[in-house]
């Protein structure tokens, strides 16, 4: 997995997580901006997943393929699931759920890279 794209997603996700956490702490009402930022992250993650699958298909080395795909799919699924679950909650707790999804994304990216590097048993 190439590093630059993964690093970009990590930076974007961390920035969004910080911004969303501040929004939750300040008890600001959620707006379209949050939804849009989630969408941007999701598009980036989709690119990451497609790139990852293409690289995996083109590689014949020993790789924990099931784990690799699982982490890619997990990273892709978490933000939409968080939005669906959080959107009915008008309080700051709903915003915090979305912040949590943004915070988890870099962890998922890291795990994808670890599995790719072969350091996860």
């Amino acid at each position: 997995m190439t590093g630059t794209y993964a690093t970009a997603i990590t930076v974007v996700a961390l920035f969004l997580a910080a911004w969303t956490l501040i929004s939750a702490a300040a008890n600001r009402p959620r707006g379209v901006a949050l939804l849009a930022s989630g969408l941007v992250l999701e598009v980036l993650l989709l690119g990451f997943a497609i790139g990852g699958l293409v690289q995996m298909a083109g590689s014949d080395r020993d790789l924990a393929r099931a784990e690799f795909v699982m982490y890619l799919v997990g990273a892709l699924a978490i933000p939409p699931a968080a939005f669906v679950w959080a959107w009915g909650e008008r309080s700051r707790a709903g915003t915090a759920v979305i912040a949590l999804a943004f915070l988890i994304t870099p962890v998922m990216i890291l795990r994808v890279q670890q599995v790719w590097a072969g350091s996860v048993g």
């Binding site: 099931a66 699982m70 978490i78 699931a81 968080a82 679950w85 309080s91 707790a93 949590l100």
Partner: protein, 138 residues
């Protein structure tokens, strides 16, 4: 308006609303993590560490039950959540202690190994928060 102090019967606050929304999200994350981990472990290398892998699967089921029952928040599901989270608390304490005392028995990590140290100790804190939340919303 029902006065809580009067002891009049009132519907319990739903466990999946307010702070519960966040709590369910964290439980859901652990349900996802434990389930994926155990599916891969059981499917691909069960022979390496059957005890640890079966524990992973057990933990996954406990997290799934806790997530769904907290999210539903009905009277019955509150009871189910209390049972599941109590098992979770016992599990993380027993497996955590056993993995420290008898590391040889746990050649592969589970979500509860070392009291959940692989997950920033969140598995240790989570059942306490869960039980507090169930009491708080009663």
């Amino acid at each position: 308006m029902a006065d809580p102090a009067s002891g009049a019967p009132h519907a319990p606050a739903a466990t999946g609303r307010g702070f519960g929304r966040l709590l369910v999200a964290v439980y859901g994350l652990f349900a996802l993590a434990a389930t994926s981990r155990s599916v891969v472990q059981l499917a691909t290398r069960f022979d390496e560490a059957p005890l640890a892998y079966l524990l992973s699967a057990f933990a996954a089921i406990v997290y799934i039950v806790a997530t769904v029952s907290l999210a539903r928040g009905s009277v019955t599901s509150r009871r189910l959540a209390t049972v599941a989270i109590s098992i979770e608390l016992a599990g993380v304490l027993i497996v955590g202690a056993a993995s420290v005392l008898f590391p040889d028995a746990f050649p592969r990590a589970t979500v509860w190994t070392g009291f959940g140290s692989g997950y920033l100790l969140v598995p240790l804190v989570l059942p306490f928060v869960g039980l507090w939340w169930l009491r708080h919303t009663r």
